[in-house]
Every structure is written in structure tokens, then in C-alpha cells.
Symmetry: D2
Subunit: 339 residues, 4 copies
């Protein structure tokens, strides 16, 4: 039977991508999509790409009512907005929160990286929704904290090494993002004249995704290691690229490196080991492409994802598919566009 | 029963898009994809986006043999390359030629715009494959000349006025194209340092698509009119945008204009009348978005398409669907990506 | 002796370009640069490119006081902001207004295109600052209305034909602009994710620069003609490109066309007749490149300028040089950057 | 007295930038600019930006003759082309070679990174032309090996730490380049459709600039350290951005870090310490902007330069100015364009 879905905060880019993916999904119906700013307006006034695919209008009504009539609610709100609303529907429907609000298990981490948490007691009720490593927990879960965009790429790139206990010394993650990561609202950093010919680092050594990555890596790696994380703005629209530098204590050849990753990913549909990961190849798709390099003592792992899909809405749909017992790849398995 | 398809010249951008669309089409199998340069190599070495979706290798074998085992052959070769090969398979299978070789009914036009035609006697055997206006002929056809990218946008923008006999005076078509229109081979005009901050006109008053547009418009408009056509290079990858200026003899209000277009397009799945046609909204899709403007005496019609899909491979699949009796929109009806 | 200059509204892109050009000009000193938002901050906090070249801070003080200590004041404010301030300093110093406020001689035109004019009695005191055609008037003027960006390119492209009385029928100007034309404040239309892969028309048949172009062309052309003007957004930062279509009553060969333009521009330093006008060639410069095409009955003139320089601040400096009796090209005559 | 200059290989991007800078330099005359492909053609047919600034044509004549009539010859040829030609003029004129041919002091390094060296005996006669650290040697030199683009940015970012003997452990340099670094000839990697929405790593752990950086850093740092260098392609035209990660044995606060860099750069005109280094701010200029970050144990240094100017032709002119006893900043000291 068709499942009923609501999207809270549907006017942004991740909300738009959720709608696109749900429209192409035969097992679900979008029954509500909310926006305070666009209440009553056609979804397609904001998401012009959906013209002809939906007649829905933006709603703005009590979440408690929506919870009753839905099987699952997506929260696609800016960080710190979900944690005030989630308690209203908690326990009444399934929840997938795309914000950072329930990702950090130590609420002090959250307080430092974002702001004082409003519902810290619920944090432990949320499963970290990285399907490649938490699949079974997600299947049975009612509440999912969907991973951040940088963490998704970084974790898919590094967990195999963590699981092999090979992360030692200082793991450097040099991350680059496209402009859609800044969201739908115009801003200085995503202003075309400032962005289109620029490259810059931002939030150096202080990005809020750092503790999220570290928290998850620490789960798997027994040894001690430190981590350095710097984010950069590039003039592409979609895409995250990360270059991870690992200096293991023992030599690991490129062949051995590839064997390790094959072991973890040979059955993963959305992770591909390639010679050269490229953002333009994975754009508009749910794939994470990884490329692996070693000269023995220095390992370089690169990862490319679409920040709005594998880095947000695509993984969210993957989680929904697991929770609602659809095939995990429903609506997500299609080749990319090139060029 | 699954239909068998071959693609002649599958290593370029339109060849790649054909493969992507055919892979997503449940009624067909790609049995051969040829390339002289990449013979024996994996398709996915060239079209990295298809990784995981095909194990096919590039072939390079006698076309006559392929004709025997296929229901339909796409020719996705550069202009002037198909006309030497088509005679080898003509009458032995269905043909959709994406090049200009069989579009111009007057072979003198072809000779002037391209080069001396090698198989002019076959020209009349090809139906001009613009589904919105030639649907019934295409259904029964064995040989299709697939329209050019600029003509597709220009004709969908102007045929309604032509059918109403409203084209008079000098119809101006100011056309703009993305860089993928220059093809897969690196060239000065599509060299990133030369293109990314540039805008320029090219082949002013001498573009080879001009006679194709005129030939088709003349079919519908009894009156006399002249046409001016100038093409421009923009720094986007995918997309054609045309701005058409028409000065009709009688006044036509914007309302009347919209009524005319509604009449012709209300049942067309891939033509949408919108307030503002935008390339970024139709990129990666088979849609043609039109917007209509009038101050009474001056009509401005804008059209936006993806040059590789609605302007090439998407329309080719639409034609294939008609010829092989699939639903016309099979594999083509999905929303675009935004942003 | 060094002339003293003030810039009212110096935090925007045209204000920044004025400062850059004045810094490189040996005959002037910037004594004040105002901004209400950035009062007291370093100029280089906003215009990071000027780091090392100025220690000035943004001021915000009575304009009357500034008028007393300056030889010339530039107004680089958004449209409709200058007309309330100019009366305070009118007659007390020289004024170059880069906004539209004193360009339209018929204040009804202004009211229709912008908003109700606040100081219409001053309009006639302003000389339209297009140096190539108003040089002598500018030399003696105290008040200059600096031309708009689209008008500058359109007029340099079309006045030669107007002067030859060759504009007849419907002159079509298809205009394209880079994103810096939207100004320094983030906006939807210049949001990188919305702009970088897009092409669209905007304000079709209703752009506020249309009456300005028509007003100036009418000065020179005795005959009757109509004009159609459509503007488009391209994904480049700097640059305006216009394609003008003219259908003269008598045949004009490409040779004759070039002779006409040579006549008007052979002594003009900043107008170059080239085979192919390109935005990337004129970016960051004060040049207007024109290319000329004819098949006898159809004339196509293309023009490329940098919207912030020749389309705004560069022409403003050219006007200043004339008014203050410097060489007209001081600080403006340098080759562009390529690519 | 005006000095006479020749450029060998003047049709590429660095050749074009050399010409632009020399045209704006009052102390020199370009007497010859060579190109085998464009011999006899106007310089401005290739470098359209120079139209109106030079009437020179491309020459192609014996280098020995040119050596006699010039004070200095620039070699702006692709790597491995200069080393066969330089011996013809060595000792007869001053030489600045912009290629890699005389940078690596150990010719084995050259053989491994490029190809077998043809004139290894001359290598030691060339001074490494990094003015900020070799100024006095350059002043008296007759032969200069101009630094590579990545090395220039990397060395200006790291030599202060090397001089303080603070480079320990594994120094990571994550480098990013614009497309003009690929040169003027169209190539797959700089093909606009492949580049404009992409980000990728290339030559991972095997880039030919790695030994050049290491050679120079080793000059200053007594301690032992290793270095990891990965280069990436971004979709901007001009610009190199490097992010360097250093993990010193003792704690260094951000304040201490800034003090170190102030010490080395307070008198350097072309190195600026800024809060956030950005490629768009330094594009078209000779500046290197550095930003400095530390959390005590982790140091992050970012550097932004224009690859064609500070990373090639600008530094070459700086070297020329020193050798010919002009002010070091002649023709190079102007603010950038923003945006």
C-alpha cells in the first residue's frame, strides 16, 4: 500500500530534491509539503523543475495533525530549527531529520558547534543514517539523523581504513563544496560575481562538521589519531570533493588499499571504486565515487558526491526505503548525466 | 518483445545520452555501440557516468551485419559522415540519423551549408523527426532525419505562429548555445579559459541551421516572410535558448498569443508554457519551455531546451518510441534537477 | 594641481571600480568615499582588491560639506537614490551621476520606468555623458548623467547608422549581461546555483533602459523607426553583449557598413572594430569592441563591453577627465587580460 | 636607455601575459616575439586583447641573431622545449626561462619528472628566480629559472616555517588550479563541458612540481620532514590556491604564526597577509595573498595567486626588473579587479 509522506521545510534545495525523488518513487505519496514563506503557493512556483509533476501547494499547519496521517516525515529545515519541532511529533510517526540536530551524540559537541540544544533527551533515540554502515539499525528505526554532506563523503572514504585500524597520526581531510551547499537563500558567499571565479577556504579548523566526522570514525578505529578538516568553496553548483591524507604506521601498497575497499564496498550499490573520482560524473546521482592512491607510506583517498543527493536527500530516501521496507535503491538507481 | 538497437558513433555526447536513455528504457536492448577510436574499450571508459549500468564494449564491425540483427540503428556521427554509411543499411533496418545529412529536402541547400551530398536520392525517404508536428508520419516511418538543436527550439517556438499565418516581415531568431553543442572533441571555442567568461556571436548570418529552420517554417506559413538567424556561445554546458522576434501585421495581445500556443501544445507532454523559460530548469530533460510576450505589435517568444536531449538524443528516443510502438514518453518523462 | 574627488556610495561594484581607476590616476585624490552601511570601516574591508593601495575609511557626513572641499563628486548609488541628494550639492561642485536619475529628458519617461522623480527641474542641467558623441558638451559641463550599461553598448553600436539615417523599420536589440550588473547585494537572480548554468530573458519588452536608448537614437535619425529591446542573463560575471538587427530600406554591403563605422570611430581610442566582438577580450577594460555584418538587406552589429567599466565607471572617469581637462584616456588606456 | 627584449614562444598564455606586462613597462621594447605556428601573423590575431597596443608580427628566425640584438630573452615554451634551444644563446644575452628545464638542480629529478635533460651542464648556471628569497642572486644573474606556478604559491606559504625550522612530520600541500594552467591548446581536461561543473584530483602523488617544492624547502629547513602534494582541477580560469597543513613539534599560536610571517613579508610588496586568501581577489595581479591559521598543534596556511602572473609571467618580469636594474615592481604594481 502506498505510504504517506510529509516534508517539513520543502522550499529549499534539499526539500526540492526530496520532492523530485519521491515523485519518481511508486510506493509513496507526498501528502504535505510545508513552507511558512510560501504557504498556499504552488510547489512549482518555487521548484519550477517539477512543473507537470505535482499540483500540490505549500502547506503550513500543525505538525501534530500531519503526524497522524503520515507514515514518515522528513525535516528539511536549517540547522537548529528541527529540534524545537521534532518533539511535537516524536513517537507519532517516523522521522528523518536532514539537519544536524540529532547527529552529535554528545550534546556538548552540538552546543559548541551550533547552539544550545533544545531537546537533548531525544538525541539518543536517533540512529545515524549512513546506510552503508548502519543498515540494520536503520531498518528497524523510527528516527533517523541523516548525515551531513561533508561527513557522508569523508566517512565513506575513511571508514574502511578505520575498520582496519589503520588511521594513525594526523588524518587530513581537505574538503571542497559547490555553491548549492549554501542553500536557496542568496548570500554573499554564493553571490555569482563573488563565486564564479573564486576559490577560498572558510571556517578553517572550525567547521561544524568536524566533530560529526570524528565521532563516527572513532566508533571503528581503536587506535589514537587526530584529524584536521578544512573546507573550501569552489565555483561549481553541485558536488562535494574530499581529499583525505592518511599516514599509516605500516606500509600499504595501492593493491592492498584497493583490496580493503573492495571488501567493504563490493556489494554496495552506491559506492563505486574508480580510477579518478569526479564531481561532474556523480552530479545529480546518489553515487559516491572513490579513488585510491598509495605510495606505500602515504595514502590519498578522494571521494566525489552530489551534496544535495548522496550528501542529503538521496541518502534520506535510501533511509526511508529501508525503514518502509522498499528496495533500498528505489527511485535512486539511475545513471548520471554527462557532461 | 525487447527490441534490438545499435548506435553508430557512440563515443560522443549525443551517443552517450542515447545510451543513457536506452539503458533506462525497459523495451530495448543496446546490442552494438560503435566507435572507430575506442574499438574494444569499455563503454564506461568513455562514458564514466554509465559505470555499473553496462558491460558493453565499443564495436567496429560491418554495418550490414548489424542491420540484420537490429530493429533500429541510430547514427550519431558528425555531419557528412552518415550519408556515406546509411546506403549500406538502408531498407534493412529502421534508421534514425541525428546528423543533418537527410534533413534538407533540397540537396542544393545541403551542398551550400555542408558539403556535396553523397546519397541525395535517399533524402526524400527520410521523415523530418519533429514529433510534435509530424507524429503520424513518424509512426509509420522507417527512416528519420532527427532535427537539429537550434531548429528544434526555433520550430517549437514559431510553428504555432506559422500555422496561424502570422509570420510576416523579418522574423529574427537570436540563438544562444551551451558548450556541449561543440561536441566531445576539445576545440578552441569550447576551451574552458576561452569560454568560461565569454559571450560572442559566431557564424553570423551564415549558420548551417538557417535553411533547415526556414524549410520547416515555410511548410506552414502561406505568407511571405524573411528570417534572420544569429547564433551565440554562452558559458553554460547544456542548453539552447532562443529569443524570437515577430512583428505581425495585425495586433495580437499577450492573451491571444497564449491562446494560440495553448491550442497547439495543451496535449503535448514535452512542451510547457511558462512565465520565464530558463535553461537551468530544462537541463537534463526532454522538455521545451516556452514563454510568450506581446505588447500588441511586437511578439517575443523565448524557448529553452537541453541541446543534447530535446535538441538531439531525447527527440531521437521520442521518434524511436513512435516507430517501435512504445509509449512516446518512455524513458523520457522525469522531472529536471534544480538547481 | 591635484583635484579632489568624492564618491557617494562607494561600497558597491561601480564604486569599487571608480576607486580603483582613481587610485591609478595621478591627477586626482579621493578625499571621501561614503557608505551608510560601512561607515568607519576600512575601504579595503569591502574592496579587498585595494589592499595596499588605500588607507581610506568609509565616511558618512553631510554632502554639503563635501561639496565645498571637492572638485567633483561621483554619485554611485542605486537608481532613485541620487535624485534626493543631488539638489544638496548642485551648483557647488561638479557632479557625475552614474544612476539613471538624470538621463531621461522627459520626466514622464522616468516616472514610468523608475518612480516619481524628486527633482525634475534639474534634469535639463545634466549632459548625457557619452563621450564619443557629446565630447564638447561634456568638456564644459558641471553635471553629467552617465549612460546606462545597455545604452552605452547599444548606442555605440547604432548611432553611426542613426547618423546616416539608416535606421528604419523595427530595430531589434537583443542584449545579454553578466551577473555583476545585478550589483553587490546578493539576490535570487545572481545566486550562483541559479545563475551558473542558466540562460534566461528578463523584463521582456519592459526594461527601463529601453526609453534611454530610444531617446538618444532619436536625436540622430530623422526617419521613423521602432525599437525592440530584450535583456538576458548569462553566467559570466562581467560583460554586456548586444546583437542589433537593422533592416535598412536600401542595400548596404558589409564593405559599406565598415566604411560607415570607420568614419565615426577611426579617431576613437576606446571603440575598436574587430572581426568578432567578445566579452572576455574587453573584460576589465574601457573598450567597446564592435563587429559588423551584412548580407545586403540585413545588418547585424554586435558590441561587447565590460558593464562596470565602459558601461559605468570607466565612462565616468572618461567624463571626469574631459571636465577636469586631463587627457581623456588617463588611467583608462591599458590592454585587457586574456584569457 | 630602453632595453631590448625578445620572447621565444609568444603565442601561449604566459607569452601573452609577458607581452601585456612589457607593453605597460616604459623601460623596455619588445623587439621580437616568436611562434612557429603563427610566423608572419599579427600578434593581435592571437592575443586579441592587445589590439591597439602593438603592431608586431610573430617572428621565427635564428635565436643566435636575436641574442645579439637583445638585452634579455624570455623563453615561454612548454617544458622540455627550452633546454634544446637555450645552449644556442647561452652567454650571449640574459635568459629567463619560464619552463621547468633549469629548475631542478639534480638532473635525475628532472629525468624522472619530465624527460632526459639535453643540457644538464647548464643547470647550475641558472638561479632559481623566486625574488622574495633570492633577490640578491637574481640581481647579478644572467640566467634565471623562473619558478613553477604551484611551487611559487607553496614556497611563499611555507618558506617562513622552513626558515624557522618548524617543518616536521608530513607537510601536506593540497593544491588547486584554474584551467589556464593547462595552456592555450585545447585539451580534454580543459574542455569546457568537462571542466565547468567538475572538481577532480590529478597526478595524485606524482606531480612534476613535487621535487621542485621539496628541493627549495630543504634549502631552509634543517630538520627532517616529508611532503605530500596533490593537485586538483577547479572550474575557474585563473588562479592557484594551496592549502598547506603543518604539524610542528611545539605549539605555535595563531599570533606567533602571524608574527613569523610578518617578519618575512613586512617589506615584500607582492605578498599580503590577509584574513581570507581568495583567488578572485588576486586574479590578474602579481600578488600572493596568504592567510594563517593555527589551533596550536595544527597549522594551516592558505595561499592564492594568479597562476599566469605571480605564478609565471609576473614573477618573470619581477626578475627582469632586478636583472636590468629597474624598480622591482615596475609594470606590476596595480590593484586587482573585483569582482
Amino acid at each position: 500500500m502506498t505510504k504517506k509522506i510529509a516534508i517539513i521545510g520543502a522550499s529549499g534545495y534539499t526539500g526540492g530534491e526530496l520532492m523530485r525523488l519521491l515523485i519518481c518513487h511508486e510506493g509513496v505519496d507526498i501528502v504535505k509539503a510545508t513552507s511558512r514563506n510560501y504557504e498556499g503557493k504552488n510547489i512549482t512556483d518555487v521548484h519550477q523543475n517539477l512543473l507537470g509533476f505535482t499540483d500540490l501547494k505549500f502547506a503550513n499547519e500543525p505538525l501534530e495533525d500531519m503526524a497522524k496521517e503520515t507514515d514518515l516525515m522528513f525535516f528539511a529545515l536549517p540547522h537548529s530549527k528541527a529540534m524545537g519541532l521534532v518533539p511535537k511529533v516524536y513517537g507519532k510517526t517516523r522521522i528523518i531529520d536532514l539537519s544536524a540536530d540529532y547527529r552529535l551524540k554528545d550534546s556538548d559537541d552540538y552546543d559548541r558547534s551550533y547552539t544550545t540544544h533544545e531537546s537533548p533527551s531525544l538525541i539518543d533515540e536517533f540512529v545515524y543514517g549512513l546506510p552503508e554502515y548502519n543498515r540494520e539499525k536503520i531498518r528497524g528505526a523510527y528516527n533517523i539523523a541523516n548525515p551531513g554532506c561533508f561527513p557522508t563523503a569523508s566517512l565513506l572514504a575513511l571508514i574502511p581504513l578505520a575498520k582496519e585500524n589503520l588511521l594513525t597520526g594526523n588524518v587530513v581531510i581537505d574538503a571542497k563544496t559547490g555553491s548549492s551547499g549554501s542553500g536557496v537563500n542568496p548570500s554573499k558567499v554564493a553571490h555569482h560575481p563573488e563565486r564564479a571565479c573564486d576559490f577560498r577556504a572558510y571556517k578553517v579548523l572550525g567547521h561544524q562538521h568536524q566533530p560529526e566526522i570524528l565521532q563516527e570514525l572513532k566508533r571503528y578505529n581503536e587506535g589514537l589519531f587526530d584529524q584536521t578538516f578544512v573546507t573550501h568553496s569552489t565555483p561549481m553548483i553541485r558536488g562535494i570533493f574530499i581529499t583525505a591524507y592518511v599516514f599509516p604506521k605500516k606500509e600499504i601498497s595501492e593493491e592492498e588499499l584497493k583490496d580493503i575497499y573492495e571488501k567493504y564496498y563490493e556489494d554496495e550499490q552506491f559506492v563505486r571504486i574508480v580510477d579518478q573520482a569526479r564531481c561532474t560524473v556523480v552530479k545529480n546521482t546518489n553515487f559516491c565515487d572513490l579513488s585510491l592512491h598509495s605510495d606505500g607510506r602515504k595514502l590519498v583517498i578522494t571521494a566525489a558526491i552530489d551534496n544535495l543527493i548522496k550528501g542529503a536527500s538521496g541518502t534520506a530516501i535510501q533511509n526511508m526505503n529501508l525503514m518502509l521496507e522498499f528496495d533500498e535503491n528505489t527511485s535512486l538507481m539511475y545513471p548520471g548525466w554527462y557532461p
